[in-house]
Amino acid sequence: MPATHFGVKYAVHIITSHFGNLVAKVCENLLKRGPLTLRLLIGFTELTPQQVKNSLLILIQHNCVQPFSVDQAEGPKVTQYVALIDNILHRWRFAKFMTVVSQEFDKECELIIKDLLENGRLTLKQITEGEYAVKDTVEKSFLKLVNAHFVERCPAPEAVLEEASKDAPKKRGPKSSKIVEVPETIEQRVVAVAAPSAAMRFSILTDSETDAHGGSSSSMSTGDKRKHDALELDEFANNEVVLWRANFEEFIRCLRHKACVENVRARLDDGAALVLRAMLKSTRTAEKKVKTENSVPVSFSTIYEEVINSEAGRNLTCDRVKASLSLLCDERDVDEDESYSVDLKKILELAQNDEVESIVLKRYGRDAYKMFRLLSTSSRALETDKISDMTLVEKKETPTILYKLWNDEYLLMERLAVTGARQAQFLVWKVDRPIVWKHVLDEMFHAALNLSLRLAYEDEQIKEVQLLPAHKRTGPLGKQWQRFRNVVYVMHASQLKIDDAIMLFHDF
């Protein structure tokens, strides 16, 4: 789902807190106005060219902005910059990414990822000479990470797009983000073109080999084709250097799998969760894209092998695994050659339903909750009386509740006039998933932003106490301090949780 109005605000907030106001200003303009040239950026931000350039360099270094140009038949090529909102939002999740690495790899790998996340892009040399590195082993660890697709080569310093087709949306933003079938945004096109070829992306070649191969992708922005209005990005364009970065996509894929497994655990049982985890683990590298709807088909023997590989799965018999598979997969998900595939989209949709329904329950009460559940599963709009009958809610109360939900954009309403012997008017109601989902996602971004702002406020309030040495924080001050620590604890936990929900709606 595309980012929403508050999604953009939240992204700007993240950049402000990580890189300060200047960088945030540049980023905000890119997010709100869509791709811009350097000159336009300077105009809009009213910053000095140097400030804008520096800000862009930081944003590019941290994978938050991608330069590109459009291959036009005539006129000079002009470099434009597009903000990558997903990557900006990922910055809030680095702790989660670290957890993923720590569960799968050794300490050294963890440190490499940490290094990459903190610095955005690094050469192999920078990595191996990093703070904690012991050269022999660090290279091995690095290899492991690249092979597992957790580290990838950086995209081309500048993507060159084919001349924009007419229907490609020029501008991203809350208005252009039509729901249902999202046309490819310019951001997506740029990312796709800039990405190294599948073969190069995770290939580790020695430095000399890299020169020969890597040259092709980065050469397009160097040499005599120096464009006007472009940044001096020599350090990125230099084809002597191969830059590496953490592959966010792989992290998100892992988190997505994890979310699916946990949802299955809650809905079915531990056995089914174990089986699903085994299936996803054994096919992870074969997945083509993050938002894969159905898991890659895999044979029973492979699943079983993977299941008994884990400690918890060791005592599962073939029959139990088969029983779990029958719960996980519909008949049509099983091939003739007995390979199984799970409808991941469905699992995630159910999890999304739970989240939205729980908001409705808490905000509008149990009767509204029942109505919302009824309408979101109904294939057609239902009439007020029918809803009241089907949910066993008092006839008189039903319209009031429905109206409230409609007013807050959780329902759609339509008036139907029936002409006949007696004129009558009926109201029919329905849940339009894409609209509600987008609305909920926007509120989630809003809520996440608010949590963060409130935490900053609490932090500000406690500044003086915080500066005191520990032994002086006694009496009322001690109490204040203790309260603050509780606040931080609760807020952090909530931030993680709300970010899980945002991922569920935005990234999975």
């Binding site: 029983a323 149990r366 608010n450 509780n486 606040v487 909530s494």
Partner: protein, 284 residues
Amino acid sequence: MFCRLKVCNFCNSLRASSFSSAEQSFTVVLGETKNEREAPGAIPVYLVHWIIAMSKRKQPDSSSPADSLSQNERILYNVIHGKQDMGIWTRDMKKETNLPDKVFNAALKTLQAKKLIQEVVNVQSKGRKHYIATEFEPSKELTGGAWYSEGKLDKDYINLVKDQFAKMIYQQKVATLEGIADAIRKTKIFKTEFTKQQTEEIVRDLVLDNRVMEVKSTGMGEFASIQIGKVCYKCKSKGGTRGETKVGAMASIPCGVCPRISQCTPDGIISPSTCVYFAKWLDF
């Protein structure tokens, strides 16, 4: 049939002064009366005798209050009666009978006093006075059906039924509709038997409540005894108890359920730093 007899002041013969019965015989009586011209409205003795004889034969009906209605009352009664089990709203009655208010009200009162009609609560629109002929049972549209009593949804009863149903489903682990209905019948907790539709209604409500979930039988494991593909029900939580819906990420923080969220901005009057909901939430 009803007939009040009186001795005629003119001829000393026995005459009927007021009289009502099945309309047909009344017309016949009038049509054949020669005396009619001499004393309008009077009925000859021999007919009175005949009427008495008839009324004796049909004794049980003879006291029906419907027989003694005035013309206006009858008009009104016929309108209400004509609507059968649907009854009719007072305003519609006025429209259809076209009687002046005073007459209308009096007639309505009489009909009620004679227990020919009764007021019923219409669940669709409780503010409107609705009447129905006593002869009919109010329709489901009026009463709201089995789960309504006196025009009000009987929530306590519904909850009781739902709890019992949930218990049965829990005991059976996976239950079909028939299985649930059977189990309920065997407990003999409820005096009445539930129709198939009522059973479905209650189970659907449990599903909407998220206490029970709908699953399709796979024919394996716990479904072994159930035909593949058949819709079954399972309890979501232990004992199918109420109110155990998982609280989502949004629902567990103030902003997620905030009624003011659309007015809340970082530097506005309503903002995260001035927010009362946050203050309450973080009041340890």
